[in-house]
Amino acid sequence: MEHSIPIITRRSATGIPTGRLAVWWLLGSEVVLFGGLIVSYLLRRLLYEHWSASAVHTNTVAGATNTVVLLTSSLFVVLAHHAAAHHKPKQAFWYLWLTIGGGLTFLVIKGFEWGGEIAHGYTLTTNLFWSFYYMATGLHTFHVIAGLLIMAIVSLEVRRAKNLHHVELIGIYWHFVDVVWIFLFPLLYIAK
């Protein structure tokens, strides 16, 4: 069984399995990507006090609900990892799909939120604040969608009790998506 796993996932020159190391490096680049965006936002938010007049219109209830949803999905994916680590593929499979359910709920809430804002005339081109708002939340949503797709693929493997270590890899990525939202929430929804 062990020898059927490709060498690339078994090799561990650094003491960390290659797959997990790759995920950490990916996340390192993501820190710079989202960090750059957040820093650009902060620089202008501190300069332009009038941005608070725009920030007033973001939907705090939707933002807070989505935070609860993402935190809960993070719990599910870490439980999926725990189940996979104890070789319980069936349990891991269901926890993965609970996580996917959380991600889909996040997308539905975000869809309603954006729809409401656009209906009120706040679009990507309204002003610089809304450009940042849609850019940051849009880039984050893109990461949510990518995570959901990968998680669905991983769940199919897990159902057949194959590549259970992939649960940990997608889990680490999903937690990062959660961490990004933890910072976007106060920036865009709380600091008004």
């Binding site: 996340l27 820190v31 957040i38 935190l71 439980l79 889990g171 106060p186 600091a191």
Partner: protein, 118 residues
């Protein structure tokens, strides 16, 4: 190594995260900017470190992963420190950003107008 944390431990951390979220939402209700800053961004830092430490298992991960992430955060800090003197000022000793200056002045002199700006 990773079995140290039983599922109940994860549920407890999730509970703490939800309590912290509630505090960060309640912070602005006291209408004190400093308190809001602490409850919003201070708590965000605590929440993020809880997720990274216990859910992402950074506490049991090889130490250099943590160093790698710190290096990335340092880059972000350098980006802020390096660009802030130019971006956060409308003018300097021998330069002036006309567009920024006009925008800041326009909104400073039209306080009433603020509530209507989308």
């Amino acid at each position: 190594m990773r079995d140290t944390y039983a599922p109940m431990k994860y549920v407890k951390i999730w509970g703490i995260l939800l309590v912290l979220l509630a505090i960060s939402i309640a912070g602005p209700m006291f209408e004190r900017p400093t308190l809001t800053l602490i409850t919003a961004f201070g708590i965000a830092l605590v929440k993020a470190s809880l997720v990274a430490t216990y859910f992402m298992h950074l506490n049991v991960e090889k130490r250099y992963i943590r160093y790698m992430l710190y290096a990335m955060l340092l880059m972000i800090g350098l980006l802020f420190a390096g660009t802030a003197p130019d971006i956060m000022q409308a003018s300097g000793l021998r330069w002036k950003n006309q567009a920024v200056q006009e925008l800041v002045e326009e909104h400073a002199t039209h306080e009433d107008h603020h509530s209507h700006i989308p």
